[in-house]
Amino acid sequence: MTAEARLGQVANYVDERTGAAAWMKKNLQKVFPDHWSFLLGEVALYSFIILLLSGTFLTFWFDPSQREVIYEGSYAPLEGIKMSAAYASTLHISFEVRGGLLMRQIHHWAALIFMAAIVAHLMRVFFTGAFRKPREGNWIIGVGLLTLGIVEGFLGYSLPDDLLSGTGIRIAEAIIQAIPVVGSYLAYFAFGGAFPGEAFIPRIYTVHVLLLPGAFLALITAHLMLVWYQKHTQYPGPGRTEKNVVGYPLMPVYMAKAGGFFFIVFGVIAFLSAVASINPIWLYGPYTPGQISAGSQPDWYMGWLDGLVRMAPPLESHYFGYTVSWNILIPGLIVPGILFTGMALYPFIESWITGDKREHHLLDRPRNAPNRTALGAMSITFMIVALINGGNDLIATHFDLSINQIMWGTRFGIFILPPIAFVVTKRLCLSLQRADRELVLHGRETGRLLRLPHGEFVEVHEPISPEKAYLLTSHEQAPALELPEVDGRGVKRAGAIRNKIRSRMSVAHSEAIPKVSADDLKEIEH
């Protein structure tokens, strides 16, 4: 019997017991568009699976306890030193369990790549406008996954209870303690008493291996089901419309590609873990609150937060015998809160500005949405400035700079550079639109020079293909909203200020270089 026939029998067996034939038939032929940028979310998904596998391996030996033990393992420099069982068991995994160090490194590398893939995927979705109706809900789930990922990563690297991670926990405790009114109570509840106590690591272990992975599974499932049900977005181009999906069927092409890609991601992470050491906790020593190592750095996805905390001015208020630590609250809670709320609400903000309530399945080329692209560039600039300050000590030592100058540079830079990035990006987008217009109207430069009979030199232009011309002109250029501020009798209407703000933003949002129409082309021919 051939393989096809055997598989056919399996399908038959399944259907006779579940009646799934109609549903399966439709979904096995489901079409997925192909583009490298659609792989970013897949990288995140596969890293998550790798995290589940490698994490489970680690739990077999890891002892999440802050009970004090004396180290007697094979790593000589720490022999006889007092440490927590959590740290000792992490050393055991690294030095005595064969493949344990590899798994620890795979787990850590996969976490870094998981977060990087989420951020890259988020940028792809943002810059192409994939979050627009009907996908606002999935955008919010994505922001939730990003937030949980940051928390999960932080808890994960806190578990080994080494000197570096203990310092991170100390900072987290200080942020909790800074919350007005209830801060010291919350800190005592979280730590089961005074910092560091013996309760925190067992508690975050449960959160890290059970609660948050459960939340991840639920959210990822919802995220994928929505992608499945709403069908994937696609890039614009000839033959691609709002009403269709052009791509490859799930079975067999997409199954083979996606399945193969899982192994490639796993292979690359395993390779990194084989050759690039990460978080060598044995070098840091066990945690004790009286010690610290210079150059203390969080993982990269926390670095921006640490950078904001570092650049905060030394503001603390004392009212009627109570203390409010603005130097912790603003960078540690208020600014991140505003940023993440703004990010979650962005689809609604944009649709309010444009007044566009239609479904969108064709992606935008970032240049064709200059305002959104500029806003994205502005946010990224903000984060990069914060991240740079998060590593200011390392930058200072590596590049022989003054740490004070870096700090002052970023203190001003965090306000000055993002708006500059906005303006520059917006101008760049409009210039690219202008270049597109040129290309469609006058064709591409061939590099061939012609000398005309009267001696003039000209470059020969060749018309571009109809496909390319369509791609460069198929986007929509919606006009700005015109909202009345006064009624028919010249009296200011209720909500005039709101309308004014909305109109202004709408004008900024719809700024564009007019795209080439068929009429323009005809005119040129004559």
């Binding site: 192909d34 083979a256 193969g260 609150p289 009286g290 479904e359």
Partner: protein, 331 residues
Amino acid sequence: MSNEIEAIKDPGLPAHVHRKADHDPVAAKRAERQVAILFGISALGTLLLIFSYSFIPDDVFIFIPVMGEQNAHQLGLGLGMAISLFFIGMGAIHWAKTLMPDQEVIAHRHEFRSPDSDRKEFVQAVKDGAGAAGLGRRSLIKRSLGAALGLSALSPILLLRDLGPLPGNELEKTTWKAGTHLVTDPGNRRIKASDLEVGAVAQVLPEIEDPEHRHLSDIAKDAVLLIRLRPDEFNLDADRLAMTHEGIIAFSKICSHMGCAVALYEQQTKHLLCPCHQSTFDVTRAAKVIFGPAARPLPQLDITVDGEGYLVARNPFSEPVGPSFWERDSR
């Protein structure tokens, strides 16, 4: 919108270009062999993993150009695993790209919005349901339900109460008392002023009965840094100067910003730097904050010597050590 202007027409999907393997059996056979080779390399990777696991001891180091000395056991395991996984992926994707159909297909999309008649009925059903339950009329039920739900949310919060004790005034207290001896950390030996040269720094802890079982949570508040300067280098008022002893000044080592250990001392400038967020404190001016996010100086410990010349605390800390909290100023 811009529909009045005629847009450039959609030329439709470009014509499909066939691959060599689609019509040439030799090319197809070659592609098949390539896929099999990729899967074969993966199998070799697994063999490398098994070999490294079983036969390479974990203390063998080999020299690899660029990377330097590497642990052969770890490297073999990792590379074996990487090769075994990566080439399964490469094989599968090469198979998909060369031998599986590469003709793009078109599926149709439908607007998610249901037909108006369905929507109407749906909205009506929701309204009818709400009406039948009396949601609009029976406000007593609505309000009491809301109150009950809100109250029931208190139970999980209440049940979490025993996560920890109440802080009380513990955050304000340290082990330091009047007359507590300063002992070295590590070592737990009493120290004399003469043990510390000018320019030297030492970490000390309060002497306790059982130093073998010192709690980390005590160290988190008790750690103190001693720095010895020449007495004329200080720029202190009389009260603060009286808290020093022969040029030895004692500060809490726990940063007043977020509680990290303030461990970097610059001997030239006499600045203390916290490696976490770079708050910088001037030792000569009672740890005044001269840079960074910390808002308060490090608390200073009042020290003197006992009859035998050992350093002791003359008074406990006069203010809470470590990061700020809401009730900090209240007592």
